[in-house]
Amino acid sequence: MPTTRRQFLNLAGSVTVAGTIPIVTLRPLEATPAMLTAAIRNVVGEAPVRTGKVKLDIPPLVENGNTVPLTVSVASPMTANDYVKSIHVFNEKNPQPNIGNFHLGPSSGRAQISTRIRLADTQKVVAIARLSDDTFWQVTTEIVVTLAACTEEMN
């Protein structure tokens, strides 16, 4: 009996599906929310962290977690008595909760930094600013990542 078109397509379809199953190596390497909290406590100590003043510019949907543009800005006049001392960026699910610490001063003029980061998974990114009066302000953003970074195999 000659193969019907329907049989052929069924067969071809199933082969394609099987062929595209991605080879995923799962690793238990992942910072936990507890590690994130610990990393934040390391920086702020016992001080309360309030929400506000800080703005995090990062794409909400990221195709490639290997380079994600990130800009953090803080609403501050940046004068000699009222300025941003430092900006700290954290993540929730990379192998390590820290992303970077950026130290500024009144001579910065504008409290804004940009860099490019890696994200291993769909997760939260937290930016915390320390002002000259030693108060801490934060912002949290959720980011969806389709291609993870950091722990992939090296070829």
């Binding site: 290997n66 380079t67 990379n94 130290h103 910065s108 890696r118 994200l119 950091c150 090296m154």
Partner: protein, 105 residues
């Protein structure tokens, strides 16, 4: 190592200028494995410093979560003509520096 520095050549006194730096570095996270399961050792830049006529105006501690070929942009007030010096320090004794000059009118 090669670094790309973007600093305005001229600025008015008191103007806020943006400084952008890009340096070439693999920023190996230390969390990746080869196909046969061996851990690839960490090799990252851990610290970046910018000095303006000898005074530190910006410093950053970097972690494996910074993408390869670290890009950093920040601001400073143009106070006087002079030189910006940039320094990258990393694992395995990595040290790289660059400089750029600015004329303030």
């Amino acid at each position: 190592m090669a670094a790309l520095i973007n600093v305005p050549a001229k600025a008015r006194r008191g103007e806020i200028v943006e400084i952008r730096t890009l340096t070439s570095h693999i920023m190996e996270t230390g969390f990746r494995h080869t196909a046969d399961g061996a851990l690839v050792p960490r090799d990252i830049i851990t610290s970046f410093t910018c000095r303006y006529n000898g005074t530190e105006i910006f410093r950053a501690d970097l972690f494996p979560a910074i993408a390869a070929n670290p890009y950093l942009s920040f601001f400073t007030v143009a106070k006087e003509s002079g030189k910006f010096e940039f320094e990258w320090i990393g694992d395995n004794g990595y040290l790289s520096s660059a400089s750029a000059s600015i004329t303030v009118e």
